[in-house]
Amino acid sequence: MSATNDSSELVRIDGLVKRFGHRVVLDQIDLTVHAGEVVVLVGPSGTGKSTLLRCINALEDFQEGSVLFEGKPVGRGRAALAARRRVGMIFQSFNLYPHLTALQNVTLAPVKVHGVDKKEAESRARELFAKVRLEHRADAYPTQLSGGEQQRVAIARALATRPSLLLFDEPTSALDPETVGDVLSVMEQLAREGRTMVIVTHEIGFARRVGHRIVFMDGGRIVEEGRPADIIDNAKAERARQFFGSILRG
């Protein structure tokens, strides 16, 4: 554990251990994410990837270790609110607020949590809608939108609060194959803009194309990590080779 604080380290996880009853869900996780990095967490289902993601913005708690965000511990409960306000999260099941229009979904947090003026929040929201190519759907309710459209609104919602970090929890797993591409292309655009992103996904092709670093997890542990080309084609760990091999074959 280094005593100096590298300011380009946006997220620093040291020795994280999470137990659920007697079961160890996350086992001694060390992970660092630098500003501008796109880190992709991959691995078989149920190996703790989403749980680890949720530890970054304290939606899950843990028993041992530390999680630092922008140099400060993330904290728990009320203490975590400050960190959460600078992180944007996109969920597998979108989680848009069904009683609000797409536009209202995007302006709710900026206005009510960050105190942004309503008009300003709305014009920023419309900019973001243009960015995710949904200008004409701003006044629709989530039930009137397709899955891919909802997820793009969710991305706009996350971006609206100007976060320094974006977390994606299997953003395309609940989408029809045709709309997966729309969402991935938006994410690729964000990566090219230099945003810091941590993505949990099964889309290995996307990970290879867009990721700076792939982290392979299994059984609650980080088994191997490295550059996409290195790890996907030439993984050192046997488990990792099996995983990538079967993905590429299938």
């Binding site: 913005n57 959460r84 306000r85 944007g88 009510k112 949590v113 039930t143």
Partner: protein, 225 residues
């Protein structure tokens, strides 16, 4: 053949508005108080604490399976035996409130259950504190789910208030009884009183439907109210 003669009630009509007001007032108070108690019970029933869950659950099951009249009698005739002598109005209000709270608890619980866990996650991930989470995300959704059963419960409370006449409260049913037997025109008195209840009930129904239209405006045209 029986001749329907509303004019025979003339002397009693003046007593109707206060009786109506009494019914409305008793019902309104019971609605507000039973909703408040119902929210507490719903939170008890969904709490992580097992004892709270059991107490809340028992309360709801017992009060939903005992007739309102018995609860009124328990309060009116039974309480004096342990030293507490309440008026007819007080016992009716308490009985109506405690009984209705059991149903309000289930309505609130149903509303809360309709808000998916993902909603809490999304709101928390945006850095919302408890007040913001419940105020902007959870409550608006609970209201949209629960407003219809709540409206029906309000009608039930208004109809249930008629039992207050049994313990001497001067409201619409008491009026009907005294006007009907006093003028020997029971059918006319019954018609007027029944009309009063029907108007009240349908007014609440109308409010419920209008609320639904407003809450769910612009959404899924053709979706059921």
């Amino acid at each position: 053949m029986y001749e329907f003669n509303l004019a025979a009630l003339k002397g009693y009509i003046a007593a109707l508005p206060p009786a109506l007001a009494a019914t409305v007032w008793l019902s309104l108070l019971a609605i507000v108080c039973s909703l408040a108690l119902g929210i507490v019970l719903a939170l008890m029933r969904t709490n992580t604490n097992r004892l709270l869950r059991i107490v809340g659950g028992t309360y709801v099951e017992v009060l939903r399976n005992v007739p309102l009249l018995i609860i009124i009698y328990l309060f009116f005739f039974g309480l004096p035996a342990v030293g507490l002598r309440l008026s007819g109005w007080q016992t009716s209000f308490l009985a109506l409130t405690f009984a209705s709270a059991a149903y309000m608890a289930e309505i609130v619980r149903g509303g809360l259950a309709g808000v998916g866990p993902g909603q809490y996650e999304a709101a928390r991930s945006q850095g919302m504190g408890a007040f913001q989470l419940y105020g902007y995300v959870v409550l608006p959704q609970v209201i949209r789910i629960a407003y219809a059963p709540f409206g029906n419960m309000c009608v039930a409370i208004v109809l249930g208030s008629s039992l207050a006449s049994v313990v001497g409260v001067e409201e619409v049913t008491t009026w009907m009884h005294s006007a009907g037997s006093g003028s020997f025109r029971y059918l006319e008195a019954f018609t007027v009183a029944a009309l009063a209840y029907v108007v009240l009930a349908q007014a609440i129904n109308g409010l419920r439907i209008a609320t639904g239209r407003w809450l769910l405006r612009h959404r899924n045209p053709g979706a059921p109210l």
